[in-house]
């Protein structure tokens, strides 16, 4: 249950207020079909306009060590709404659960792997097939504490190059639920 503030259509009674003891608050339209409920809980209410999002990519080929897991230098930002991405690292300043996606491209069909790292350790290993391919992709939902936690992209190949292609060697993310 919740206390409610309802929108009406009659002059003089366009706003109706009804209370209960739940501590929750609901905002309702006239029909009652469109509702915003504010729970009786501590936290920050997020709306689409202030949920951080970023996307960055490797703009030119990166020379790497073969058979090593190498940090991908995501040197170009497509967008970074909360200024949380720097030096190829995403360090969100709002605690919560972030959906991270990443891709890695290599110039010759082999068996590349992209890995999403959290705080310097592998967190989500991307696709890896026995059949040769140019790409590996990874996706994960990860919690970040909003202060010290950070996310990076690493790649593996038995070649010595990561391909600098915006649509194929990249990492992006968005806050989907505040803590």
């Amino acid at each position: 249950m919740a206390s409610t503030i309802s929108a009406g259509t009659t002059s003089g009674t366009a706003i109706a207020i009804a209370g209960d003891t739940s501590g929750n608050l609901a905002l309702l339209t006239q029909a009652g079909a469109n509702t915003i409920t504010v729970p009786n809980a501590t936290g920050t209410m997020m709306v689409s306009g202030n949920m951080p999002a970023f996307s960055a990519y490797l703009s030119a080929d990166q020379t790497v060590s073969a058979s090593a897991f190498v940090k991908v230098l995501l040197d170009t930002e497509s967008f970074d709404t909360n200024n949380n991405f720097a030096s190829s690292r995403f360090t969100p300043t709002i605690a919560g659960y972030y959906q991270i996606s990443a891709g890695l491209r290599v110039p010759v069909s082999t068996t590349p792997i992209c890995v999403i790292y959290k705080n310097g350790s592998a967190y989500a290993r991307g696709s890896y097939t026995a059949v040769s391919t140019y790409n590996s992709v990874a996706s994960v939902l990860v919690y970040c504490n909003g202060s010290t936690d950070y996310i990076e992209l690493y790649g593996y190949t038995n070649l010595t190059t990561f391909s600098g292609i915006q649509s194929e060697t990249f990492m992006s993310g968005v806050l989907v639920r505040a803590a």
Binding site: Q62, V64, S65, A66, S67, A68, F69, V70, K71, V72, L73, S88, T111, I113, G120, Y128, Y154, Y156
Partner: protein
């Protein structure tokens, strides 16, 4: 790093370094490759002196 490891352990020539048993890592910070993990069941982790 890979070349040094193969010089010490030629039997690793066909080893799958993507397996995670032995992880060579490079943080792109100009400090070069290093061994981030070594869990090979029979081969001992090389010392810094051997890798120098």
């Amino acid at each position: 790093m890979l070349e040094k490891l193969l010089k010490i352990y030629p039997e690793l020539a066909n080893f799958d370094f993507a397996s995670g048993v032995i992880t060579i890592q490079n943080d792109s910070d100009n400090k070069g490759d290093y061994i981030a993990k070594w869990e090979h069941p029979t081969l001992a982790r090389p010392t810094d002196e051997e890798l120098a």
